[in-house]
Symmetry: C2
Subunit: 166 residues, 2 copies
Amino acid sequence: MTEFVQQRHKEPVKLAREREILVACEPMRSNVNLSSILRTVSCFAIPKVIASGQAKVIGKVARDGEHQVEVKIHRSLPPVLKKLKADGYRLVGLEQTNDSRCIFDYRFERRTCLVIGSERKGIDPENLALLDDVVEIPIWGLPYSLNVANATSMALYEYCRQFPEG
Amino acid sequence: MTEFVQQRHKEPVKLAREREILVACEPMRSNVNLSSILRTVSCFAIPKVIASGQAKVIGKVARDGEHQVEVKIHRSLPPVLKKLKADGYRLVGLEQTNDSRCIFDYRFERRTCLVIGSERKGIDPENLALLDDVVEIPIWGLPYSLNVANATSMALYEYCRQFPEG
C-alpha cells in the first residue's frame, strides 16, 4: 500500500517547445469566467489569450495567470481570426452546431486557435463562418450545457493530452 | 467549406448504462466551486456527489444540476470512503503527491469514486491514506495549480472519454 504524501505546487513539467495553441474569446458576460479560463491557460503554459469586448482580468481569479500569459483585447474577433488563419492557425470553435466533431475523436493540429463563444449566445455566426472545424464535448444530462470556463478547460486539457510536450 | 449553424442545448447523448463514477468532495471553501462541479457532474450524467462540511449548492451556478444529481452531505468523508471501498469502488484522488500517476496515462476503473480536496489544503492525509490511486493533471506554468472546479471537470472529462457509453 502506497503512502501518499501531498506535494502542493510541485515543480511544473517542462515543455520540449513552446505551445502553438492560442485561445480567442468572444465578449464574455462574466470576467470571472474569462479570468478562470486565464488561470487554466497559464497553468498549461499557453502563451496568449485574445479577448474581446469589455474584457477585464480579475487577478484574484486568474491567480497570476495574467502575468505569464499575453492577454490582447480586441474590439471584435473577425479581423484577428482572419489574420491568424493567414498565419497558419487552424481555427477551431468549441460549440454545439449541426456539424461539430466529437472532441473525443478529434485530432488537433499543433497550430490551433481555439475559439470560445460567450456564455449566453455561444459563437457568433460571423465568427462561425471563419472556422475550419468545430468540436463539441458530449453532454449526457441537464442543464445540457457546460459552464464556459469548465468547457474551455476540458478542451485545453484534450489539446495538451495530445501535445504533452508542446 | 462547411457552414456551421449553432444548435444550442442539443438533445443529450444517451448512455448504454448508468455511470458508475461518483464524486466525493472534501469541505470546500467556496460553494461556487462545489456548485460549478455539480453542473459538470450533471451534464455528464454522473448520478451522485458526496459533499461534506457546510456544503450548500447554489442553484444559479449549478444550473439545475442539483435536481438531477443526488447530493449527499456528510459531516466527514472517511467513513463514507470506507463504505464505498467495501462496495467495490476504486478510490481515486485528484492531487499532487509524491506518487501520483499522470492522468494522461491512467486507465480508470468503471466503478470509481473520484476524491476532490479543498481549494487551499487539497486532500486531507486521513483521506489520502484511504485512496487506491492518486492522479494528477500536469502543470506547465503559473500559478502551478488549477482551480478545483476546472480540475475536477478535466478529470471527469477524462473518465467520460474512457467510458463514453457509461
